[in-house]
């Protein structure tokens, strides 16, 4: 009781609150807010990364909206995000529901297995999939050949399928992470709800649809934010697997930033693209927050 009182006193003391939050706030300001503000400031300059640069107002933003790479990058980002949502959240949910079922055997092995790719290095995973996607000796085309299915593809060089193929690699690797979040979400729902539904004659999958999934709104909110913002800002898999090519086929907004800053030395313009990416990610987060508003799912 004494402890509770002390806690209450501390929480009502604004100085204490400030003292405890200040370090985190300072670190956040230093590593997030300051760079974002710097990028915003620099986006109004023609700047090569060194020296002061020349103030050009919103010229970089005008150029950005006229840049044909923007449309391609947005399209690729959307496709990438879609693949992540389908495979990481869709499949992750199914697997989480299966693994949460006490009747399923070998759940521990499955849970560990799903998470293994997450701890592997991205470079290793990309190299592995480059080999799997190899059109001549790769596992996928060989499998199609073995089954007599005429669907052999140039997975990483075909402009039509390469972005999906690359996104799938990300989805495959990090599905385990989303799975663990979703699994924790499923397990956090009190079993009584399911028991009550079963007593009322509801089937297992219908009960999941009506009870489990709506009650996981908060978890889904986080998972969707993670998947969609990762998709919009995808980069490393493209860099390793195709260098963004052929040509600029697999460019995303982050690849645009990389190209303009580090290849063209147009840091001012790259800052404008990064601010656009930040705004887009915030917008996506805002929309997801609205869609998964807890109130909507509470009853």
């Amino acid at each position: 009781m004494q402890g509770m009182n002390n806690m209450k006193t501390h929480l009502s003391n604004k100085k204490t609150i400030a003292l405890f939050t200040l370090p985190a706030l300072l670190i956040y300001t230093l590593i997030v807010a300051y760079p974002v503000l710097q990028a915003l400031f620099r986006s109004f300059y023609e700047w090569n990364g060194l020296g002061g640069g020349t103030f050009i107002g919103i010229q970089n933003y005008i150029q950005l909206f006229e840049d044909p790479l923007l449309i391609r990058s947005l399209r690729n980002g959307a496709l990438f995000a879609l693949v992540l949502v389908v495979f990481q959240i869709g499949l992750g949910t199914l697997l989480a529901l299966v693994c949460a079922d006490p009747k399923v055997r070998g759940r521990k092995i499955l849970k560990t297995g799903y998470f293994i790719p997450v701890v592997l290095s991205v470079t290793v995973v990309c190299q592995l999939w480059i080999a799997i996607y190899d059109p001549t000796n790769g596992m996928i085309n060989k499998l199609f050949q073995l089954l007599g299915i005429p669907y052999q593809q140039y997975w990483l060089t075909s402009p039509a399928v390469s972005i999906i193929a690359i996104a799938f690699v990300n989805a495959w690797q990090f599905m385990g992470f989303q799975f663990s979040l979703l699994y924790a979400g499923v397990k956090s729902i009190p079993e009584q709800y399911m028991e009550a539904a079963t007593i009322d004659g509801c089937s297992k999958w219908k009960a999941h649809l009506k009870i489990t999934l709506p009650m996981m709104a908060e978890t889904y909110k986080f998972c969707f934010i993670l998947a969609i913002t990762s998709g919009i800002g995808a980069f490393i898999q493209m860099l390793i697997m195709t260098s963004g090519g052929p040509g600029t086929t697999n460019y995303t907004l982050t690849f645009m930033i990389y190209r303009y800053a580090f290849m063209d030395s147009e840091y001012g313009y790259a800052c404008a693209v990064s601010i656009f990416l930040v705004v887009l990610s915030l917008l996506a987060t805002l929309i997801i927050n609205k869609v998964f508003d807890r109130e909507k799912f509470s009853h």
Partner: protein, 445 residues
């Protein structure tokens, strides 16, 4: 308690002082020399009995970069015993590390610079102008004719000392596979090239291995076609008011497309790296391979007498003969540059020039590579590979010219992207022409 506090304060003070001493040690670049004789060397370093350390940021990651550096350092020890180089190995990171050094005021004394970096550093004053240095005048006097241009940037200043000559791209071919497929070498015309592709494919031989995962090689391939019609390469594309892609460039994109349609490239070419492509060629699976003349050594080592090179085919035999000595390569300013912030600027300039000389000397004497920027008085001690001998006998005395270097990074990047796209099915020459015209409208307005 009081004693404990005093002890802590004393300990902290000692610790802080030792740290600052360490920092001073790191920054100090002049240390007393107890062993150096001080008899030879530069005017700056040779007269005193102190060793001057220069921080250098140079390429040092494989035999081609390590051996010339080691050779130059050994020679430097003899010529300037009081100068020591402190190597910070160059990173393949588009100069990001060096730019960070520049932004934080921590520049090395001497560094490797290409033209893109020179432009950025000239603007931000992170590169020394070497126009009036005595070393520049001395080097110019010893430059091989034609290479002087690589010493001067577009703004008329000298920023770096180049050691290498101008590389150029050639087509390597496997003589055995050519004979097997009944293809006569060299292929001189474009029609012969198309016919040869069919013959190779009929025999189950890959016509060409190309590491098109790297965009510069598809760019070079396109430039090889362009230079048969326009020997200046891409240079004429940078003209105020030029918005239409001129005919030689359209013809080259059309030829590129038709070669692709005929099956010159593997459909997976844009995902093929150098190791994979060269392995296809060296294991006798591909009949041709495109790369610079520097590949001669590796090609000879792998294929011995079965490999030779040919000039770029042209639209007809007359053009082929007229243009074969217009080489597909462009001299660009670059090489050893000096930071204006160097505490030993004069010495650094002298050492940068020395390194350029010694790197050239190594290439010439140890690798029998005559394509170096500087004249070397000593005779080549080893026998050059036959393909290099052909270059020495046949090409070097007859060079009509190199393509001219073009300034625009934007144009170069667009060419990189769009030529790589040309290798892929579904992207045609019309699309290439349109994309390039969009870039021309942007850069030439």
């Amino acid at each position: 308690m009081k004693k404990k506090k005093v002890n802590i304060i004393v300990a902290m003070t000692v610790f802080a002082l030792s740290l600052s001493a360490c920092a001073k040690d790191n920054n100090a670049n002049i240390v007393p020399n107890e062993t150096a004789s001080g008899t030879a060397g530069s005017s700056t370093a040779g007269e005193s009995n102190e060793i001057t350390k220069l921080k250098v940021y140079l390429k040092y990651f494989d035999d081609d970069t390590k051996k010339p550096y080691d050779y130059a350092v050994a020679e430097l020890k003899k010529a300037m015993p009081n100068v020591e180089l402190d190597l910070d190995p160059w990173q393949q990171d588009n100069f990001q590390k060096l730019k960070t050094y520049a932004a934080t005021g921590n520049m090395p004394d001497i560094y490797d610079a290409d033209y893109g970096l020179i432009k950025a550093f000239a603007e931000s004053k992170n590169i020394e102008i070497l126009d009036n240095a005595q070393a520049t005048k001395d080097l110019l006097a010893d430059f091989n004719p034609g290479y002087e241009k690589s010493l001067t940037a577009a703004d008329g200043h000298t920023y770096a000392y180049s050691a290498t000559g101008t590389g150029f791209q050639i087509l390597y071919y496997n003589k055995k596979l050519f004979a097997e497929a009944g293809v006569n070498a060299p292929i001189k015309t474009y029609d012969e090239w198309i016919a040869a592709i069919k013959k190779f494919k009929d025999k189950g031989i890959a016509p060409m291995a190309i590491f098109a995962k790297e965009k510069w090689i598809t760019n070079s391939f396109y430039k090889g076609l362009v230079t048969r019609e326009q020997p200046e390469g891409y240079f004429p594309l940078e003209q105020k008011g030029l918005f239409q892609l001129p005919d030689p460039y359209k013809l080259a994109s059309k030829q590129f497309e038709e070669l692709k349609q005929a099956g010159l490239f593997d459909p997976n070419a844009t995902n093929t790296n150098y190791d994979q492509a060269s392995s296809l060629f060296y294991t006798g699976k591909a009949a041709m391979f495109v790369n610079g003349q520097w590949e001669i050594y590796a090609a000879t080592e792998n294929l011995g007498d079965d490999v030779d090179w040919m000039y770029w085919p042209a639209k007809d035999e007359e053009t082929y003969e007229n243009m074969k000595f217009s080489l597909n390569g462009a001299p660009a300013p670059g090489g050893f540059a000096v930071a204006p912030t160097s505490k030993h600027k004069e010495l650094a300039i002298e050492v940068a020039a020395f390194l350029a000389r010694k790197y050239a000397e190594y290439q010439y004497l140890q690798k029998a590579n005559p394509i170096v920027s500087l004249k070397i008085d000593q005779p080549i001690s080893i026998t050059p590979p036959p393909m290099m001998q052909r270059i020495i006998d046949e090409v070097l005395p007859n060079i009509k010219g190199y393509a001219k270097f073009n300034e625009s990074t934007e144009l170069n990047n667009a060419l990189d992207d769009n030529t790589q796209n040309l290798v892929v099915k579904g992207f045609g020459n019309k699309q290439f022409d349109e994309n390039m015209e969009r870039i021309l409208k942007k850069i030439n307005k």
